[in-house]
């Protein structure tokens, strides 16, 4: 009996939204990331895959770990990296986004990572420049590399995300991390729950393929992982919650609040953490529960995989399944 071989080439040259990915794309990213994750633990992890390519990190919003993670990933692969961040001259001088994009494009960078407080900013750069553009976070819209590194971290523990129950807790309204995670976890067939006060949940979030909870104890029931989110005070105008104290009492993650979750429930946090508000310090530091440092480590590996695949230089650029039976 003959079987038709199936070949699939990674089709993307930019990463703007999780919604653009299919499960095969994700598994190709994870496959490369797993190799980098191990290799990065060696003393000399430098590779030459991106030799000769120039990457611009264009961060209109402040960032420490995402910027460092992208820079580390690119340099590990041998690319040249230039960083522009919120304090940089062109950004603080009030140049329009269009002019910044066109000027940088004129320098012919190969890769641009864009973070901006406006939803759609990275898509705009992808449209007007010839570079491979990675969305490093656009407003409260998407942060696809964060979702990929979160899911990758979980797959390292579980093997497969499908069928797992995951609850995202807290300030979902302002969170691009939550939006990207909801898309990705649904794509990977997880059961997704959201939990927070009504003021921090998007209207009609129940249409997003999730179950919405307001009570944390109910929400974490039987969960295999919980994702804490940072309270994004800089995006909040006017009071959305009464006080940090009340938020911590009602929605703050602690060991005690996880008693109804699965016994080996994992805890993620995209950082930076407000210890004592959305997550208790003791829980964040518990190596049996929290995988927060592992997320930071996985971030570099995931971004290396994405950089390789978007530039067409990954070893697994083509996925092949089955062989033509010659008999």
């Amino acid at each position: 009996m003959s079987r038709t071989g199936f070949a699939y080439d990674f089709p993307h040259s930019s990463l703007l939204s999780v919604g653009d990915l299919n499960p095969l794309d994700v598994s190709m990213i994870f496959e490369r990331a797993a190799i980098h994750f191990e290799a990065n633990r060696n003393k000399d992890a430098r590779e030459r895959t991106l030799d000769g390519l120039a990457m611009v990190n264009l961060f209109f919003e402040n960032s420490t770990r995402t910027l460092a993670s992208f820079e580390m990933a690119a340099k590990r692969l041998g690319a040249d990296v230039i960083n522009f961040s919120a304090g940089s001259a062109s950004i603080s001088k009030g140049e329009s986004l269009a002019d910044t994009a066109l000027n940088l494009n004129a320098m012919n960078p190969d890769i641009m990572v864009v973070r901006h407080n406006a939803a759609g900013a990275a898509s705009y750069f992808a449209r007007v420049t010839g570079a491979a553009v990675i969305n490093g976070g656009d407003g409260a819209h998407e942060h696809p590399t964060q979702a990929l590194l979160d899911a990758f971290t979980l797959t390292r523990h579980w093997g497969d995300i499908g069928g797992k129950r995951i609850c995202i807790i807290g300030d979902i309204l302002h969170s691009r991390v939550a939006r990207s995670n909801i898309s990705l976890l649904n794509l990977l067939n997880a059961e997704v729950r959201l939990c927070g006060p009504a003021t921090l949940l998007p209207a009609d979030a129940d249409r997003w393929g999730v179950t919405v909870y307001h009570d944390l104890d109910e929400a974490v029931e039987g969960c295999d992982a919980v994702m804490a989110l940072r309270m994004q005070k800089e995006r909040m105008s006017g009071g959305l919650i009464p006080s940090d104290r009340e938020f911590a009492a009602l929605y703050g993650l602690t060991h005690a609040r996880l008693e109804r979750a699965s016994p080996d429930c994992l805890v993620t946090h995209p950082g930076p953490m407000n210890r004592g508000v959305e997550i208790d310090g003791a829980l964040a530091d518990d190596p049996d529960r929290a995988v927060i440092m592992e997320q930071a480590e996985a971030g570099v590996a995931i971004r290396m995989a994405i950089l390789e695949l978007l530039t067409g230089r990954a070893a697994n650029q083509r996925y092949q399944d089955g062989v033509e039976d010659g008999a």
């Binding site: 006060p197 009504a198 003021t199 307001h214 006017g238 009071g239 959305l240 919650i241 009464p242 006080s243 104290r245 009340e246 009492a249 009602l250």
Partner: protein, 264 residues
């Protein structure tokens, strides 16, 4: 055991309103209705047709929990017991926006002849949301604006949305603060003749329409505080017809008097 005879038994929950007897023991009703025969050594009270009804609940008791005088809780609770009110909800005031602020109420409840429950402030004077979740945990029966409408509609939306998280009831003053500012009478021919600064019924209607829109948006359960006008009642009926969970209170004085009485 105690037998009460010849009572006009009124129970709104079951729709009962009839003359009859009632027997109770250790604070619980043993038998009710019809004619009951007195047993040996049973105390018998003849009500001669007076009303016997479940104790009333005052959802909005204006008192100062921090005062020990006539306006204080102890005196208020005594008055409530004498008047057939078995539960009083202390109206929210600017000092009731944290669970700790309920301490004087909890203390008074320990020795009170009636049940005393606190209500929490939705939004404090600085425009910050009160600690709604913690106050509900600490026993708040409901939340409220403390009789002062929340002027910032976005803040009102958020506070009601947050309260709706816990399916709590929120009481709102049904009054447009701009139209009502500085007025002392209902706007009409008589108030005009008397030269009084008057508040139009529309001030109440607009506030109720706004509250209804916010309830629709947030899923909040609303208790409209002290409605007094026909326009307000129409707006309330419209809101309830939509299936919104909106109830209202009316001051007893407005069942007895109207602005004509101000001239006499």
């Amino acid at each position: 055991m105690t037998l009460i005879r010849n009572a006009r038994l009124i129970d709104p929950a079951s729709g009962r309103d009839a003359l009859g007897d009632l027997r109770f023991q250790d604070g619980l009703i043993e038998a009710v209705g019809g004619t009951l025969t007195a047993q040996d050594d049973e105390a018998v009270i003849d009500l001669e047709g007076a009303v016997l009804a479940p104790a009333l609940i005052d959802l909005r008791c204006q008192t100062n929990p921090r005062s020990s005088g006539r306006a204080g809780l102890a005196a208020t609770a005594q008055a409530a017991a004498a008047g057939g009110v078995g539960t009083i909800v202390v109206a929210p005031d600017p000092d009731l926006s944290t669970p700790e602020s309920f301490a004087p109420i909890d203390n008074a409840a320990l020795t009170s002849p009636v049940r005393i429950l606190p209500a929490g402030l939705l939004v404090d004077e600085a425009g910050e949301m009160g600690e709604i979740g913690l106050m509900l945990r600490a026993g708040a029966a409901l939340l409220g604006d403390g009789g002062r409408p929340i002027p910032d509609t976005r803040l009102a939306r958020r506070a009601l949305s947050y309260a709706a998280t816990f399916e709590a009831w929120s009481s709102l003053r049904a009054e447009d603060p701009d139209l009502a500012r500085g007025t002392c009478a209902h706007e009409g021919d008589l108030a005009m003749r008397l030269g009084l600064s008057a508040r139009p019924g529309g001030a109440e209607r607009m506030a109720i329409d706004r509250a209804a829109a916010l309830a629709e948006l947030t899923g909040a359960r609303l208790l409209l505080d002290r409605i007094t006008t026909a326009e307000g009642l129409t707006a309330l009926q419209t809101a309830r017809a939509k299936g919104l969970e909106i109830a209202a209170t009316a001051p007893i004085t407005h069942f007895i008097f109207n602005e004509v009485d101000t001239a006499s």
